[in-house]
C-alpha cells in the first residue's frame, strides 16, 4: 500500500500549479492515499503482453494544406481578457 505524505501532496500540487495550505495538504493526502490504494487493484492483472489503448478508434494525424487562412478578429479575441491595452494582454508585474 502506497503511503501518501503531506510533502508528496505539496510537491504534486506544485507541479500542477496549485497553491495549497498545510492543512489542505493533510486532507488531500488522506483522500489521495485512499484513492491510489483503490487503484492498486489493477496490479492483480498481468499486463506484460498487453498493448496500451490511448484511443478506441484507429486514429491518424489529420493534415491540411499549409496555407494561411484568416484568424479571429483581434477585438473579438480580446473580449474575455480581463485587462488589455493597445491590442495586448496586460498582466501584473511578474519580475521582481
Amino acid at each position: 500500500m502506497a503511503k501518501m505524505t503531506k510533502e508528496e501532496v505539496i510537491e504534486v500540487a506544485h507541479l500542477a500549479r496549485l497553491a495549497i495550505t498545510d492543512e489542505e495538504a493533510v486532507h488531500f493526502a488522506d483522500q489521495l492515499e485512499a484513492i491510489t490504494n483503490a487503484m492498486e487493484l489493477l496490479n492483480e492483472l498481468d499486463t506484460e503482453n498487453v498493448e496500451p489503448t490511448t484511443h478506441v478508434l484507429p486514429m491518424v494525424n489529420v493534415l491540411r494544406e499549409d496555407k494561411s487562412i484568416p484568424g479571429l478578429d483581434r477585438e473579438l479575441v480580446l473580449k474575455n481578457v480581463k485587462e488589455h491595452e493597445a491590442g495586448q494582454i496586460k498582466v501584473p508585474t511578474i519580475l521582481d
Binding site: E8, V9, V12, A13, H14, L15, A16, R17, L18, A19, I20, F28, Q31, L32, A34, I35, T36, A38, M39, E40, L41, L42, N43, E44, L45, T47, V50, E51, P52, T53, T54, H55, V56, L57, M59, N61, V62, L72, L76, V77, K79, N80, V81, K82, I89, V91, P92, I94, L95, D96
Partner: protein
C-alpha cells in the same frame, strides 16, 4: 395549452397548425422555467432575449424547409460553448466567460432551427455524479427535491424531467449523461466515441468525452442525435463515417435480437430494486421476440480504477490551460508569475477538480507513469476486448444504468470513493467507446431507475430500436414527478 408532456412531433404540430407561434412556444418554456427553476435549479444562464430573437427569425421559414425539430426549444449543458451566452462549465475559473464562437453541435442545433433557451448546471468541468460540485448551485432531482439529480449532466436531465424544456444536450465521460438520465427518469444517450464533434466542448478527458442528447422519449432522442451527429473537420477525433437516420431505425421489430446480460452488472453493491427492474425489462423484451443469456465481462471490476487514472491524467493536462491570463478568473494576490498561476488556479478550481488534477499529475509524474497511467491504458485494452468478444455473439448488452436510485444531497459528498462507485456500471462503456442509452425502467421508493442498453461501435440504431420497443411496451416514461403538479404546463 399544455406543452410539458408533448413529444417533438406533437409540439411541432401546434406550430404548423398555427395554434402557437415559435415565439409563443419559447415564451411558454421561459414561463415554466421561471416557475419551476426556483425549486429545481437546473439553469445557470437564461437567454430570453437571444432565444426570442432567434424564434422571430424562424417564423417565416416555409414548412417544407423545416426539419422535425424546427422551432422547438432546447437547453445546453454549460461545458458546451455558446456564442454570446455565458459559459462556465460550472467553475469559478470561467465566471463571466462569454464565448466568441459556437460549438459545432450548437451550430447544428441552430441550423436545424432549434431555439436555445439557456445553459444547464453541471458538476464543475463535468467531474462528479451529483451536481454538488457546481460552484454556482445544487440542482435538485424533480422527483424528490431532497435528492441529487445525478451528474455531471444533472441540470440537463433535471430540466427535461421537470418539463422545463423537451430537449437538452449533455456530455458523458464516465456516465455523465446516462446516470443523471436514470436518476431523473428520462432518456439519455451516449453515442459512440467520435460520432459527435467535440469542437467547443470544454475538455475534461478527451479520449472519453462525448456529447449526447437527453429527452423524454426515445424517438425524440434519435431525432436530436440526427441533428448533432457527423464528422467535423474541426475535431480530428470525430469519425468520418456515414450517419444513418436514427429515427428510421425505430421499426418496432426486435424479433431474433440476441441480448447479453453481464453477471458483473448484478454483483455486490448493485441494489435489489435495480436488478429486479432489469429482470422485468428482459421479460418484456423476450415477449417481443428477443432472447437473452448471461455473459461475463470479466474485467468490469477494474474499470473504475482504470477510469479514474486515465480521466484524471487527461484532465490534469487539459485543465492546465486555465492560467488566468487570457480569459476567466484572475487572482488579485500575485507577487510573481508562479504565484499568479498558483493562486489563480487554487481560487478558481473547486476541491474535486483539484483532487483529480493532483491525481492525474501524480499518475503522469516520473517514477509513477508506468505503474499508474500506462498500467491503466493496458487494462483499458482488456476492458475493450471484453466488449469486442461479447459483441461477436450478441447484438446488445443490457444491465442497470446505476446500482441505486438517486441519493440524498450531502450523503456522499465527503467521500470521493463512495461517490465514484455510482459510475461502476457506466464507466466501462466510455473506456470501450461503444454507444449506450439509459431509459426509464422502474421506480424504487418513488425514485426512477434506468435500463442501460449498450451497442456495438456505431450501431446506435440497434440501441435505439431496442430502447423504443421497451418504451412502447411500458409506461414508465409517462409518469411525471410531483413538481409538475399545479405548474404552468
Amino acid at each position: 395549452m399544455a406543452l410539458a408532456d408533448k413529444t417533438a412531433a406533437e409540439l411541432q404540430k401546434l406550430i404548423h397548425t398555427k395554434e402557437m407561434t415559435i415565439s409563443e412556444m419559447a415564451e411558454q418554456a421561459f414561463e415554466r422555467i421561471e416557475e419551476l427553476d426556483s425549486k429545481v435549479d437546473a439553469f445557470l444562464a437564461i437567454d430570453k432575449e437571444g432565444a426570442l430573437k432567434q424564434a422571430a427569425q424562424l417564423e417565416d421559414t416555409p414548412l417544407d424547409e423545416r426539419g422535425p425539430l424546427f422551432g422547438l426549444p432546447i437547453g445546453v449543458k454549460d461545458n458546451i460553448v455558446t456564442e454570446g451566452i455565458e459559459t462556465t462549465a460550472s467553475s469559478r475559473i470561467l465566471e463571466g466567460f462569454n464565448p466568441i464562437y459556437d460549438a459545432t453541435v450548437v451550430e447544428k442545433l441552430k441550423k436545424d432551427g432549434m431555439v436555445i433557451v439557456g445553459k444547464l448546471n453541471m458538476d464543475e468541468f463535468a467531474m462528479g455524479s451529483s451536481n454538488e460540485n457546481s460552484y454556482y448551485k445544487n440542482t435538485k432531482n424533480p422527483w424528490n427535491l431532497e435528492t441529487v439529480p445525478g451528474g455531471s449532466s444533472g441540470g440537463s436531465a433535471a430540466a427535461v424531467a421537470a418539463g422545463e424544456v423537451p430537449f437538452t444536450l449533455g456530455s458523458d465521460t464516465g456516465g455523465s449523461i446516462r446516470q443523471p438520465a436514470a436518476f431523473c427518469g428520462v432518456v439519455g444517450m451516449k453515442p459512440t466515441y467520435g460520432r459527435v464533434s467535440r469542437f467547443g466542448l470544454i475538455a475534461y478527458a478527451s479520449s472519453l468525452d462525448q456529447i449526447g442528447p437527453i429527452t423524454r422519449t426515445v424517438k425524440d432522442n434519435a431525432l436530436l442525435l440526427n441533428t448533432i451527429a457527423g464528422h467535423d473537420e474541426k475535431d480530428s477525433t470525430s469519425a468520418n463515417v456515414e450517419v444513418p437516420d436514427f429515427a428510421a431505425a425505430l421499426t418496432g421489430d426486435i424479433q431474433g435480437l440476441r441480448i447479453g446480460v453481464p453477471k458483473e452488472y448484478f454483483a455486490e453493491g448493485v441494489g435489489e430494486a435495480a436488478k429486479q427492474a432489469v429482470r422485468d425489462a428482459l421479460k418484456v423484451l423476450e415477449e417481443k421476440g428477443a432472447t437473452w443469456e448471461e455473459i461475463s465481462l470479466p474485467h468490469s471490476k477494474y474499470a473504475l480504477s482504470t477510469y479514474y487514472l486515465i480521466a484524471s491524467s487527461e484532465a490534469s493536462s487539459n485543465l492546465s490551460r486555465f492560467d488566468g491570463i487570457r480569459y476567466g478568473y484572475r487572482t488579485q494576490k500575485a507577487g510573481n508569475l508562479l504565484e499568479f498561476y498558483m493562486n489563480t488556479r487554487s481560487e478558481g478550481f473547486g476541491d474535486e477538480v483539484k483532487r483529480r488534477i493532483m491525481l492525474g499529475t501524480y499518475a503522469l509524474s516520473s517514477g509513477y507513469y508506468d505503474a499508474y497511467y500506462k498500467k491503466a491504458q493496458k487494462v483499458r485494452t482488456l476492458i475493450k476486448q471484453d466488449f469486442d468478444k461479447a459483441f461477436e455473439q450478441y447484438d446488445v448488452i443490457i444491465g442497470p444504468t446505476t446500482p441505486t436510485p438517486a441519493f440524498k444531497i450531502g450523503e456522499k459528498i465527503d467521500d470521493p470513493l463512495t461517490m465514484y462507485a455510482n459510475d461502476i456500471l457506466t464507466i466501462p462503456v466510455n473506456l470501450a467507446g461503444v454507444p449506450a442509452i439509459s431509459v426509464p425502467c422502474g421506480f424504487d421508493n418513488g425514485l426512477p431507475l434506468g435500463l442501460q442498453i449498450i451497442g456495438k461501435y456505431f450501431d446506435e440504431e440497434t440501441v435505439y430500436r431496442v430502447a423504443d420497443v421497451f418504451e412502447q411496451a411500458t409506461d414508465f416514461h409517462k409518469k411525471t414527478p410531483q413538481v409538475w403538479e399545479g405548474a404552468v404546463q
